[in-house]
């Protein structure tokens, strides 16, 4: 896989442990320690079960067009968060960030996706993580207060 400075940005590995990483069943398929950002044109969208796929054309630093796939949870999860079959305009330019394939294929596992108008969709598991961490902080605070009383 090439490293691009144009349409594709390969980010260095995060040391931060992601809760979403623990959820996924695809540890052998995607590298959840790395993050790749793609900016390109949506050419096809399959909002299906068990997995959804966004097909993108991305122009690399050499001006060559590459075909990438953004893999995502299935319609079961995404429809609950507002994803629809017609959410992308005709050849809409989007930005998608995700975990790259472990096998070098031009595919990422969705972390977040930003439409042309700025609307952002986050991997449902990641957005859940934020709510759960807030709950944990509340519970920890209550436990500490009870312990002090």
């Amino acid at each position: 896989m090439k490293s691009f400075i144009g349409g594709v940005f390969i980010l260095s590995a995060y040391l931060l442990t992601s809760i979403a990483q623990a959820h996924h069943s695809f540890r052998g398929v995607f590298d959840f320690s790395k993050h790749t950002t793609l900016r390109g044109t949506v050419v096809k969208f399959d909002l299906l079960n068990p997995h959804a796929r966004v097909f993108m054309e991305v122009v690399n630093e050499n001006g060559e067009t590459e075909q990438w796939v953004v893999e995502a949870p299935g319609k079961l999860s995404l429809a609950r968060r507002g994803w629809t079959d017609d959410m992308f305009g005709d050849r809409e330019v989007i930005t998608a960030t995700g975990n790259p394939s472990s096998t070098g294929k031009m595919a990422i596992w969705l972390e977040d996706l930003v439409l042309n108008d700025g609307t952002k969709f986050i991997d449902p598991l990641v957005s859940d993580d934020e709510a759960i961490e807030a709950e944990r902080r509340d519970r920890a605070q209550r436990a500490a207060e009870q312990s002090n009383n």
Binding site: T17, S18, I19, A22, H23, S25, F26, R27, G28, V29, F30, D46, L48, N49, P50, H51, R53, V69, E71, G74, K75, L76, S77, A79, R80, S101, S102, T103, K105, A107, W109, S127, D128, D129, A131, I132, E133, E135, R136, R139, A140, Q141, A143, A144, Q146, S147
Partner: protein, 258 residues
């Protein structure tokens, strides 16, 4: 007088049983789906051991852990489940293949319908329909269907084991109790594989949750298998009442990144 008659009629009707439904059974019918994001429910998203869930509750509410993020506590509970709780239930034979290497034999990445334990504890929408003589389960994952017979029947003489087995059930107070046998050997989401001697008791109970009465459904599945377990393993998960959710078909399954 007229108004009084209407009132009496309504009161009488309210006492009549719903056609096709026995009296005094809990109303579990309708669409259920994932609960709101919560610590224990997320831990049990695809099923967990009851012991593991209780351990997570214990460390979440321990003041000593006030500065530890959820990811760390969850990982500790997962390790407890993986290295102590589940192995303590397994036979020596089952321990030989535990835990399964998920990278070498990915479970969700294969486009095969799920086996019993994964299906019963599957996430997302799950529809229950109750009848007089049976209960129907319709799962969004793999659009799998199960029938739980309430009429006391036995498996047919020519019954062969299957992915989801043969299920009978009855009500115990507010709980639907389902007994299943004849399940094909398969793997679980918890790192162990079971034999075709697996038998499972599922207990479904509708309970109150934050913000609603009776809007939460819980299951405890008790797994027994002389080949796999030296003592019953208790697993569980929960759903939330979700009348607006739909079940979508499974189409064009492709292994991610293939």
């Amino acid at each position: 007088m007229h108004r009084g008659l209407i009132t009496i009629t309504l009161l009488v009707c309210a006492q009549l049983p719903i056609p096709g439904m026995a009296q005094n059974v809990p109303d579990l019918s309708g669409m259920w789906s994932d609960p709101p994001p919560r610590a224990e429910d997320a831990f049990c998203h695809v099923g967990c051991t009851i012991e593991g869930r209780n351990y997570l509750t214990q460390i979440l509410d321990d003041p000593a852990n006030i500065d530890r993020p959820y990811a760390e506590l969850r990982e500790e509970a997962e390790q407890k489940q993986l290295t102590e709780i589940i192995p303590s239930h397994l036979t020596p034979v089952a321990l030989e293949s535990f835990p399964m290497n998920r990278s070498a034999a990915p479970l969700s990445t294969a486009c095969d319908p799920w086996g019993f334990t994964r299906q019963v504890l599957a996430p997302h929408a799950f529809e229950i329909t109750q009848h007089e003589d049976r209960v129907s389960f319709y799962y969004s994952e793999w659009t799998a269907r199960r029938t739980i017979f309430l009429d006391g029947r036995k498996p047919p003489a020519d019954f062969e084991s299957s992915l989801l087995g043969f299920s009978v059930g009855h009500y115990e107070g507010d709980t639907l109790v389902v007994e299943t046998i004849g399940i094909n050997a398969n793997s679980s989401n918890a790192g162990f594989a079971h034999s075709d001697q697996l038998s499972v008791t599922e207990r479904y109970t509708r309970v109150d949750d934050r913000g609603g009465t009776g809007n939460r459904l819980e299951v405890e599945a008790i797994l027994q298998d002389p080949v796999t377990f030296q003592k019953p393993l208790h697993m569980g998960r929960a759903w939330t009442w979700a009348p607006s959710e739909e079940i979508y078909p499974y189409e064009s399954c492709i292994v991610p990144s293939d």
